[in-house]
């Protein structure tokens, strides 16, 4: 594996152009470019050092379009054959200038520039292939929609490359494959499900810290909204979207709650429990008071047949309580409770699902009830704790004294009892 990647890296460095050292014939002055047949005379042999299958190349987009070997391997176009061992790096930008310019701005290009000799970052052929490049519409292509995760996974699912490239997110392809998007692609073969490039871009993959990136925090809703447009609108109307647009850096975007690569179906238990903790990571007070209620206790035990945050507050279209659109507003609270508690009344809905027993201003009756119960418990356990301990100690001593007093003869017995009594005092 390691060797393969070293080779890969070496290939990236020197292009695909190095050939074995059999160039001994003196140079001629013939200016005519070599035809593919001439190249394949040597390279067409599968046992050659750098074999190129005529059928593979013939089936590739370049082969189909009549691009010749020397269109890419320009430095040997007119070179005398056999040509030099080392050839120049192939420059895709010669024809594909626009994608190449995009690639130059990408995190892959950046990494390669930072360490030209050792970088494991992807270049054109790592994703597209070399002699076997096929159009993205071809199911055989590495860049075919359903193959993209595997293509990116050649590096982002490879422990060695992840380590050498210092890729912080780790084996992200594995995470993605198990996510709702990964499953949709992998199992359902859904062409509309997003692959890596739909969120990250293809040539212009940028860091999430780059304001121009599709995955930069404030750009995430628009990126997800490319498919989830309705949700995007609801989110943007809601309190989180409004806060995000007003520049609140704590406001959650899609990936804050749903994660980026491990997005789950929202009807599974694990999601419901996970998103609760996610809400609680910002709404620390609310999760604490929620845990004091039956709802919160049940979810804490890992069961979900009870109300979690979104069941009352909504998910994307959350509004402040004073907003009549809010599911917990005075206008809508009864119908919200009724979702589970059929027949709920306004009086029923006045239950405080986030009551805080330590907050006298918000929950005065609960505050005093809690104080009373605490005092009662402390008093009972303190009193009987002491009572029991004293009783136990006395009983043990009394029994010891009785045992010592019983068997011996009368005079001795009297002595022992006296001793025991003295000890007891």
């Amino acid at each position: 594996m390691k060797t393969a990647h070293c080779c890969l890296a070496a290939l990236v460095l020197c292009g695909l152009s190095s050939v074995p050292a059999f160039a001994r014939t003196p140079q001629t002055t013939a200016p005519k470019a070599h035809a593919n047949d001439e190249c394949l005379a040597c390279h067409g042999d599968p046992s050659a050092d750098r074999p190129v299958s005529p059928t593979v190349f013939g089936g590739s987009i370049h082969g189909q379009a009549g691009v010749t070997c020397v269109d890419c391997h320009r430095d040997v176009a007119t070179a005398e054959l056999p040509h030099a061992e080392k050839l120049a790096t192939v420059t895709c930008a010669t024809c594909h200038d626009q994608p190449a310019a995009q690639y130059d701005r990408s995190v892959h290009a950046e990494a390669r520039r930072a360490a030209p000799a050792t970088s494991v970052a992807a270049s054109c052929k790592d994703c597209h292939g070399a002699h076997d490049i096929r159009p993205a519409s071809d199911p055989e292509s590495r860049t075919y929609h359903l193959n993209l995760a595997a293509t990116c996974g050649r590096c982002h699912g490879n422990a060695d490359i992840i380590r050498r490239g210092g890729i912080k997110i780790g084996n992200v392809v594995q995470q993605f494959q198990d996510s709702i998007h990964g499953i949709a692609l992998r199992k359902a073969g859904l062409m509309v499900a997003p692959a890596c490039t739909d969120c990250h871009g293809s040539h212009e993959v940028l860091r999430k810290t780059n304001a121009g990136s599709r995955i930069f925090r404030t750009n995430v809703p628009a990126t997800c909204g490319k498919c989830h447009e309705g949700v995007q609108h609801r989110y943007e109307d809601g309190i989180h979207g409004t806060a995000m647009r007003s520049g609140n850096t704590f406001a959650p975007v899609c990936s804050t709650c749903h994660t980026a690569h491990q997005i789950q179906r929202v009807d599974v238990d694990s999601w419901k429990l996970q998103v609760l903790r996610e809400c609680g990571s910002c709404h620390t007070e609310s999760i604490k008071t929620y845990r004091d209620t039956f709802h919160g206790q049940v979810t804490s035990l890992g069961f979900v047949r009870t109300a979690a945050c979104a069941d009352c507050h909504g998910a994307h279209d959350i509004f402040p309580k004073r907003d009549p659109r809010s599911t917990v507003s005075q206008a809508r609270i009864v119908s919200t409770c009724s979702k589970c508690h059929a027949g709920a009344t306004p009086a029923f809905a006045r239950y405080d699902p986030h009551a805080d027993k330590h907050n006298r201003a918000r929950n005065p009756t609960l505050y005093y009830a809690a104080r009373f119960m605490t005092l009662l418990l402390v008093f009972v356990f303190a009193f009987f704790g002491v009572h029991t301990t004293m009783w136990f100690a006395r009983s043990v001593r009394a029994r010891h004294a009785a045992e010592r007093a019983r068997p011996p003869a009368p005079e001795e017995g009297t002595d022992t009892t006296d001793e025991a009594e003295k000890k007891d005092e």
């Binding site: 919160g296 049940v298 890992g302 009662l376 009972v380 356990f381 009783w391 009983s395 043990v396 029994r399």
Partner: protein, 279 residues
């Protein structure tokens, strides 16, 4: 009872708890343990053992059904007890259950006996001469009585919130939730430590007092532990009518088994609660 049989069974025996008492106490134990096992996971939901225990009882939904079933049993036990009290009071005219040496009602002598008992703990005086119910037995009884009222009522409020919301304001449910949990903690903590010690685990009784299973105390026990009662009953010439045959041979082993299981479950729960508090 023949004298030979009496000797075999360890002497003369008197009836302390009749079958009604024993059966109710047995059902009380069953429902209390059931309620504790199915309810504590919610109260200590963050402890690692809580989810395990909840799953043992079939998940929170099934555990919830079991909890309500045990609650219904306990309410039945409570009602049966109160019904019998009222019957004894109003039909049998047994007014002595309201006041006096054989009454469960706390009386001045209980305070005196408590203070004397504590003086004895310190080795400063003799053991008090108890009568039919000691002050700690009365505390046990009234703690459970109060507890059942509080925890039973709050439990019903939580069980039927829509019904109760017709009469009580919303914050009442918050209090019901709090009180149900805190009172549960008090009851469980008290029964599984203080009651277990007072009635079973203290050196005089260790490993357990089987009177609640057999209903019988020996002549020796009565003279030693409740000398005032012994003398009072002797003076009233009532002792003879309390003399009973020993319990059937299967009663004691069964009682010991039930008692051992109950104490084991209770003490385990105490350990789990302490663990939850410490972590």
């Amino acid at each position: 009872m023949s004298s030979a049989q009496a000797a075999l069974e360890g002497g003369v025996q008197y009836l302390r708890f009749d079958r009604y008492h024993r059966v109710l106490h047995g059902l009380l134990m069953l429902s209390f343990l059931g309620l504790a096992l199915t309810g504590l996971p919610l109260l200590f939901n963050e402890a690692p053992w809580a989810a395990v225990l909840a799953r043992v009882f079939g998940g929170f939904h099934t555990a919830g059904i079991l909890h309500r079933t045990f609650a219904a049993l306990l309410i039945t036990v409570f009602s049966a007890h109160v019904f019998r009290l009222l019957y004894r009071l109003f039909v049998n005219k047994e007014l002595f259950i309201l006041w006096g040496p054989a009454s469960m009602t706390p009386q001045p002598r209980d305070l005196v006996e408590m203070l004397r008992h504590m003086r004895w703990f310190l080795g400063l005086g003799p053991r008090p001469r108890f009568d039919h119910f000691t002050y700690w037995e009365k505390f046990d009884y009234w703690a459970v009585f109060w507890g059942m009222g509080i925890i039973g009522f709050s439990g019903l409020v939580l069980w039927f919130p829509l019904f109760f919301s017709r009469f009580v304001p919303g914050w009442f449910f918050n209090i019901a939730m709090l009180v149900h949990g805190e009172e549960a903690l008090l009851a469980v903590g008290f029964i599984f430590t203080i009651h277990f010690f007072n009635s079973h685990l203290r050196p005089e009784k260790f490993p357990m007092d089987t009177v609640i299973f057999t209903g019988r105390v020996t002549d020796e026990e009565l003279r030693e532990e409740r000398p005032d009662e012994f003398e009072r009953l002797t003076a009233e010439r009532a002792l003879g009518s309390l003399r009973v045959d020993p319990a059937k041979p299967w009663v004691l082993p069964l009682g010991r088994t039930i008692g051992t299981v109950a104490v084991a479950v209770g003490l385990t729960l105490v350990v789990l609660i302490v663990y939850a508090f410490l972590s």
